[in-house]
Amino acid sequence: MIPEIGNLALILAFCVALAQGFLPLAGAHRGRAAWTAFARPASRALALLVGVAFACLTSAFVDNDFSVLYVAQHSNTLLPLPYRIAAVWGGHEGSLLLWMLMLVVWTLAVAQFSRQLPEPMVARVLGVLGLVSAGFLLFILLTSNPFDRLLPAAEQGRDLNPLLQDPGLILHPPMLYMGYVGFSVAFSFAIAALLSGQLDAAWARWSRPWTTAAWVFLTLGIALGSWWAYYELGWGGWWFWDPVENASFMPWLIGTALVHSLAVTEKRGSFKNWTVLLAISAFSLSLLGTFLVRSGVLTSVHAFATDPRRGIFILLFLGTVIGSSLVLFAWRAPKVGLGGRFALLSRESLLLTNNVLLVVACSSVLLGTLYPLLIDALGLGKLSVGPPYFDAVFVPLMLPALFLIGVAPFANWKHARVDEIVRALRWAFIVAAAVGAAAPLLYGRWKPMVALGLLLAAWIVLSALFSVVRRVGATRGGRSFLATLGQQPRSFVGMHVAHLGVAAFVAGVTVVSGYQAEKDVRMEVGDTVGVGGYSFRFNGVREQQGPNYRALVGDFELIAEGRTVRKLFPEKRFYVSSAMPMTEAAIDSGPLGDVYVSLGEPIDKSRPDAAWAVRVYYKPLVDWIWGGCMIMAIGGIIALSDRRYRVRLRSGSTAPSSAGALARHT
C-alpha cells in the first residue's frame, strides 16, 4: 500500500510541476497577477508531494519491503538501519528521487525567501524550476520508477553494494546533489532575467546568495566524495580523474567562475551576458554529469545503472533544457548592454582572467572526459584518458589563477595601477618566496614543484592578511583593530576565508604529492616495517563478525620514536550477500599527515594466521586537502551571511542605493 501512495504522489507531483511550470510563466508574460500568484502555493504542494514519495520509499526500506524491486535490489534484512536509510539513494532510481527532493527543497527555499523580489520575477524563477521538476519527474515515472513492484516478493534483498556501506555514503550524495541541483536556481534566475529582459545589478544580487549556497554544497559534496574514495577504496589516492568525479568537478569550476563573475555584475554591471552564460553552463554541466553517470555512456566505477532508454531520455531532456536556454540566450543577449567600461588592468580584467582560466580548465576536463567517446564514435579505436593528461593540462592553468587570487583584492575597480599593486604586495611576495624556498627543506629533499606550490599557498595567505590589515587600517578611524575587523562586511571576510581554504588545499596537494611514501611488504607476525619516520609492527590477524559480514582484522602497532603511539586495525571484510571482499584501511590522521595501513591478501591462502601482504602509506598534510575544502565552504557560508542579503529581506528597498553604498566600501 505505501509504495502505491508513493507512486501516486509522484504522479500528482508531475501534474503540479507542469502547472507550476506553465501557469506562472504565462502569467508573468501576460501580466496576470492571479496566474503568477499560483507559483508559490504550487511549489509548496510540489515539495509536499515529493516529500511524501521520498518518505514512502524510505519506509519501504526501513520495513524491508522486498516486494518493491528497488528495495530488493539494494537492501537486506541484515543491513543496519542507518544504511537501510542511506540505501534509499544507493541506486539509480533512489538517487533520482533524492535529486528530485533536493530540487523541491531549493524551489521551496526560493518561494520562501523571495518576498522582496518583484512578483513576475518570482513567478518566472519558480516557473522555470517547475519545468525542470516536471522533466525529472517524467524521467522517474517513465524509466526509473523506484516503486515498481516485484511480485512475488523476494525472500531476501540483494543487499547494498558493500563499497557504499559507509558513513561517507550517507552524506556524500545528498551534499553533492544539493550542489548540483542548487545551480538550477542560478539557472532559473538567469532564464527569468533573459525572459524579462531585466538583466541588471539587482538580478545579480538576487542570484548571488543562491549561487554561493549551491557552490558551498558542491564543494562539501566533492570533498566528501574524495575523502570517501581515500579511505574506503584503500588505494591511497584522493582524486582519480574518474569520469564521474569529473562530472562533479566541471560544474564546480564553472560555479566558481560564476561566483566571481556575479560579483562583477553586481558591483559594476559588467559581464552580464557572460554571467548568464555561466549560470546556464553550470546547470547544464550538472545535467550533463547526470547524463554521463546515469546513461553509462562512459565506463567508470560509478556506472551502476546502464540502460539505453534512460540515456535517450536524459539526452532528450538535456537537449530540450539546454538547447532552449541557449536559443533564448542567442536571441536576447545581443540586446543587453555592455555595462561599465574598465581598463586593461583593473579588478574587472583580473576577474575576467580568472574566469577565462577556470572555463578553459573546465573545457579541458570536459575534453579529457569525452575524448575516449569521441575517438570511439569516429571509429578510431578505444582509449582512455588518465591522470597524466589532466595533471599536465590542469596544473599550468591553475598556477596563474592561484597567483591572481593574491593580486585581485588589491586592484581597484575600473582602473588599477601596477606600481600601487607592486608596492602594496612586494613584501608579501618576498616572504612567500622565502617560505616556498625554505619549507620543502623541512621534508628533506628540495623539489621545485613543491617550492612553487608552497610559494603560492604562502602568497595567498600573506596577501589575504595584507588585504585585511590594509582594509581595517583604512576604515579604523580611531577604534581598536579587532573591533574594526569584526565590522568588516561578511562578504569581504568570506572571500578571504575561502581563499585561505584554497591556500590550505594547495599546500596539502603539493606536499602530499611531493613527499608521500608507500610500501608494499610481506609481513610475518611480529615483523616491523618503517615508512616516513614511523614504523608498524604486525601482531597478526583475528576473525570478527559484523552485522552482515565477517571480517579478518589485522592488529598493527604504530610506533614513533620507539614508543607505541596507537593501535591500528585494518580489515578485510567478506559480505554475506556479495562476492567482493572489501578492504577497510586503518588510518591514523593528524594535522601533519596520515599514516595508513591496509591489508592485502594472505601470502598462503590457507593460513590467514601467518604472513600477509600489507600496504603502508605515509601521507604528509593530506588532510589539508579536505580541510581546505571545508575552509572554502565556510568562507562561502560567511559570505552568505552578509548583511546586505538580510537587509534586503527585511526592508525590501530597491537595489541601486544599497548597491552604491556597497560599491564604495568594497
Partner: protein, 194 residues
C-alpha cells in the same frame, strides 16, 4: 552571424556526439588475442576426467570456446541460447569450466585440499549440465583458472570463435543472445568455414 549562437552550436555538436556515444558499448574492449593463435592448454575433460583435451585437436575445424561456471548467473541466461545453437549442429562448442569452486564466493576454497576441490568441481559442473542441458561437445576443467588467465578472461561468460588455423577470430564478453548468435557468430562462422 550572431556570435551569441556559438554556445548553441557547440552544444548541438556535443549532443550529437553523446547521441552517437549512446549507441556504443564502452565495455566492448577489443581483445589483443583477436588475430592471434588460441593459447595452448591441456586440461582434463568433465565427462572423463582421466582424459584430456587441447586446442590442437580442433585444427582444421572452426569451433567455439565458451567460458562458463555454475555460479555464474549470466551463464544461466545464455545457456538456452547455447543449447539452441548446439541443436543446429553448426559448429562444435567446447566449454571451459572456469574456477568452478574457487570462483564461487559462497565456498571457502582455501579450506579444501586439491583432490577435494577437483571432486567438487566435477560434481557441481556435472549436476549443473544435467539440470540445464548440455550444449557442449565437451567441457574441460580449468580448476585454478590458469587457462583463463592465458585467454584474458575477465568476465564469465565469454565466448571465442577460433578458426581452422587455430586463430582467435572473435571474443565476445558477456552472455550471448539470439541476436548475437544470428547477427555476429553464425555469419562469421559461415565466412571462415568456407
Amino acid at each position: 552571424m550572431n556570435r551569441f549562437l556559438w554556445p548553441l552550436i557547440a552544444f548541438i555538436a556535443l549532443v550529437v556526439l553523446l547521441a552517437v556515444g549512446l549507441g556504443l558499448n564502452p565495455r566492448e574492449v577489443p581483445s589483443p588475442l583477436v588475430g592471434k593463435p588460441a593459447p595452448a592448454f591441456t586440461l582434463p575433460r568433465l565427462d572423463a576426467p582421466a582424459k584430456t583435451f587441447s586446442p590442437q585437436e580442433m585444427l582444421g575445424r572452426v569451433w567455439l570456446l565458451n567460458v562458463w561456471a555454475s555460479w555464474c548467473v549470466s551463464c544461466r541466461h545464455e545457456h538456452p541460447v547455447l543449447v539452441d545453437l548446439a541443436r543446429q549442429h553448426a559448429v562444435p562448442l567446447v566449454g571451459l569450466n572456469y574456477k568452478e569452486v574457487r570462483g564461487d564466493a559462497a565456498i571457502d576454497a582455501d579450506k579444501l585440499s586439491r583432490d577435494e576441490e577437483r571432486q567438487q568441481v566435477v560434481e557441481r559442473a556435472g549436476a549443473w549440465l544435467a539440470r540445464h542441458g548440455n550444449p557442449y561437445t565437451l567441457s574441460v576443467l580449468d580448476i585454478d583458472g590458469r587457462v583463463g588467465i592465458d585467454y584474458g578472461v575477465y568476465g564469465v561468460p565469454e565466448t571465442y570463435v577460433i578458426d581452422k588455423a587455430g586463430i582467435i577470430r572473435l571474443k565476445h564478453i558477456g552472455p550471448v543472445t539470439p541476436e548475437i548468435v544470428s547477427g555476429k557468430l553464425l555469419p562469421l562462422i559461415q565466412e571462415i568455414s568456407k
